[in-house]
């Protein structure tokens, strides 16, 4: 019986398919999700510092304000916005819409463009407001 189940062909995986935008964005969706998971530590650090008093708050603010901190926060903003937009595409698919090939490809590309544009926009506003 064991021989029958051994060496059976498995369902095809990544390497068998042509690399296409929807596939790339699916992978990026998962990676950004994983990054956001650990990124919550940044939010936690900020909230806990705010609850702990001015001294801690200023320390965390200084860290976030440093060049490395700003780069990490910029990346975090992009990951969040990209995952958010990707989530909207998933909700659309869950509701049964948007499965047409050309449309979903366009939307996958649009997801990347929009997430980058929105990230730049958010940071531009922050810098102008400040």
């Amino acid at each position: 019986m064991a021989n029958v189940t051994n060496n059976r062909p498995l369902s095809p995986h990544l390497q068998i398919y042509k690399f296409i935008p929807t596939m790339a964005m699916s992978i990026v969706h998962r990676i950004t999700g994983g990054a956001l998971y650990f990124g919550t530590l940044l939010v936690a650090a900020w909230l806990i510092a705010a609850a702990s008093g001015e001294e801690y708050f200023n320390q965390v603010n200084w860290l976030f304000g440093s060049i490395v901190g700003q780069l990490v926060l910029f990346g975090y903003t992009w990951a969040l916005l990209h995952h958010l937009l990707g989530g909207l595409r998933h909700i659309m698919w869950d509701l049964g819409y948007g499965f047409e090939k050309e449309f979903s490809t366009k939307l996958a590309k649009g997801n990347l463009v929009a997430s980058i544009a929105l990230t730049v926009l958010v940071w531009a506003i922050v810098l102008i407001v400040r």
Partner: protein, 126 residues
């Protein structure tokens, strides 16, 4: 000699017991997070880099504190479920998978608990 068919061996072992619940919770939290995070981002745009007193004063506002707490809860549930899916997809050793699933639950609850406590402390005690 095991006489059971391969199909018989795996029947009832799939995600069918709780998969729908998992799927549904991921979707409901994601829908909730769209407006919550838009609010959060706008809040951060306004208060990023502002002095302590001003930020804490804004966080203590009942409306902001409620939104903040809801965002934390929805995020934690959503991220725990998401990481669960990633672990189940890529980790095939039963022991390691179980360990990571438990760590995932602990990490999520710890971060969520800390954030919630911080939000409530600011709201009630400043």
């Amino acid at each position: 000699m095991d006489m059971r068919t391969p199909l018989g061996k795996v029947r009832g072992l799939g995600s069918a017991k709780s998969g729908t619940e998992h799927f549904w919770r991921v979707r409901t939290t994601s829908v909730a997070l769209v407006p919550l995070l838009v609010f959060y981002i706008v809040f951060l745009i306004i208060y990023a880099g502002k002095p302590y007193a001003e930020v804490v004063g804004a966080l203590a506002n009942p409306f902001v504190a409620t939104i903040n707490a809801l965002t934390v809860i929805a995020s934690i549930v959503h991220m725990r479920l998401g990481m669960e899916e990633i672990i189940q997809d890529y980790i095939h050793s039963e022991f390691l998978k179980l360990t990571l699933l438990v760590l995932n639950a602990f990490f999520s609850l710890l971060v969520g608990g800390l954030c919630l406590f911080a939000v409530l402390k600011i709201a009630f005690a400043g």
